[in-house]
């Protein structure tokens, strides 16, 4: 087949377009940053997940170790069941503590793991027993108000 300069231009156009797509996927999007192929699954019950969303990050000591895979309500105990996918490179003891924390004052919520001292490690499908729910602003305020209201009564 004959090759023309026109082919060259069209080739350059297609290459530039595909390069732009790859740039969007790798550098702008998250395709290059986290690879969820090598993970194990653990789950935990929280009495309140607050604003936690699917794909929220799971961190230990501030390092990203996994992502929240699913959140659903368990109607047997009326608690939120949070399924987490954790990178296989990071192993955690059985008595690890899972807290729902907030990054910054109004930032997004994530799960912070606090490793315990157990010698046995969490396996695929295990449950994290100790959890702490999300801080709900209304609860905090009402706690504060009640303690304030109780104070003068105690001094009198």
């Amino acid at each position: 087949m004959e090759r023309t300069t026109l082919d060259l231009w069209v080739g350059m156009f297609v290459v530039a377009g595909v390069a732009a797509l790859v740039f969007l996927a790798m550098k702008v999007g998250n395709l290059g940053t986290y690879n969820m192929s090598n993970t194990y699954e653990v789950h935990a019950y929280f009495s309140n997940v607050g604003g936690l969303k699917v794909k929220a990050s799971i961190k230990d000591a501030g390092v990203l170790v996994g992502r929240v895979a699913a959140i659903n309500l368990d109607t047997n105990r009326y608690e939120a069941n949070v399924v987490m996918h954790i990178d296989k490179r990071y192993q955690f003891p059985k008595d690890t503590f899972a807290n729902i924390l907030t990054s910054g004052l109004l930032g997004e919520q994530y799960i912070g793991l606090m490793p315990g001292g157990d010698t046995e490690m969490l396996k695929n499908g295990d449950q994290i027993k100790q959890t702490q729910s999300a801080m709900v602003l209304e609860d905090l305020i009402s706690k504060f108000m009640f303690s304030k209201a109780a104070e003068p009564a105690a001094t009198k």
Binding site: V10, F13, N30
Partner: protein
């Protein structure tokens, strides 16, 4: 008497519009059916890719750069008030990848390449080249319309991706290089917020839809144009107006479907 004439005029216009939609649907169907031939002669598509895709490159790149720069500037001014300048990258990237990239690229494509397609086909019809083809037992839809249609559908997502990429670079130039937003947080927050499937792929789907619609409108208007100088100029205008409106309306519908849950 006058009232009845007015009503009759309105009815005539509505029936005419519905009629044209029906013909356009048949035209689309025929284009799809006869496009097998044009894939066998890929050289035809390549030639149209050159005239619609490559020739639109400069306007897309320049427009993308400036839109990104404006987004960077305006976004910085607004985000500064809330002390969250580091989210500038997120704002620029999401705005471009989800909305502005596909929509602006499609609008530019409609006025740059779509109008040219309509004028070309309309003039072919006016100079009786199309009847000549039919005379020679060459199917004009397979020979003229289908290659242009596929060239439009192929080049639109590429142009939209280029627009977004160049726009993000423009936002980077203004935000990071000129104003001095932290480079690390610009990119890392962007990567954390932009999801490949949710945002980038949905943008590609949007631009595919826009490419199909814009090219189809342009080709149909050209094919349907009255074979006079006035007819061709009117058809060219209609191409730009109709496809711009179609892009903006479809964008609303697609956004409502794609991003409502997010």
């Amino acid at each position: 008497m006058n009232v009845i004439d007015t009503i009759r005029g309105i009815g005539h216009r509505i029936i005419n519009a519905v009629w044209r939609i029906g013909v356009a649907a048949r035209f689309f169907f025929l284009t799809i059916i006869y496009s097998g031939n044009s894939f066998r002669r890929f050289q035809l598509i390549v030639r149209e890719l050159f005239s619609s895709g490559v020739m639109s490159l400069i306007i897309i790149v320049v427009a993308g750069l400036f839109v990104g720069m404006v987004l960077g500037l305006q976004g910085y001014e607004t985000l500064k008030r809330y002390g969250s300048e580091s989210a500038l990258g997120v704002m620029v990237a999401l705005g471009l990848v989800r909305e502005l990239g596909p929509v602006m690229a499609a609008l530019l494509f409609a006025s740059r390449a779509g109008s040219a397609m309509t004028a070309e086909i309309g003039l072919m019809k006016a100079t009786e080249q199309i009847s000549a083809m039919e005379m020679m037992a060459v199917n004009p839809i397979a020979r003229i319309v289908a290659p242009r249609f596929w060239a439009g559908v192929i080049s639109m997502p590429l142009l939209a991706a280029l627009f977004s990429a160049v726009g993000i670079f423009g936002g980077y130039l203004v935000g990071v290089v000129q104003i001095g937003v932290d480079e690390g947080s610009f990119w890392s927050q962007m990567q954390a917020a932009v999801d490949f499937r949710e945002d980038v792929l949905n943008g590609v789907i949007k631009s595919l839809v826009f490419g199909t619609v814009v090219t189809l409108i342009a080709l149909f208007e050209g094919f349907d144009a009255p074979p006079t100088a006035e007819g061709v100029s009117g058809a060219t205008t209609r191409t730009v107006v109709t496809s711009s409106l179609a892009i903006l309306m479809l964008d609303f519908v697609l956004t409502a479907i794609m991003f409502r849950g997010a």
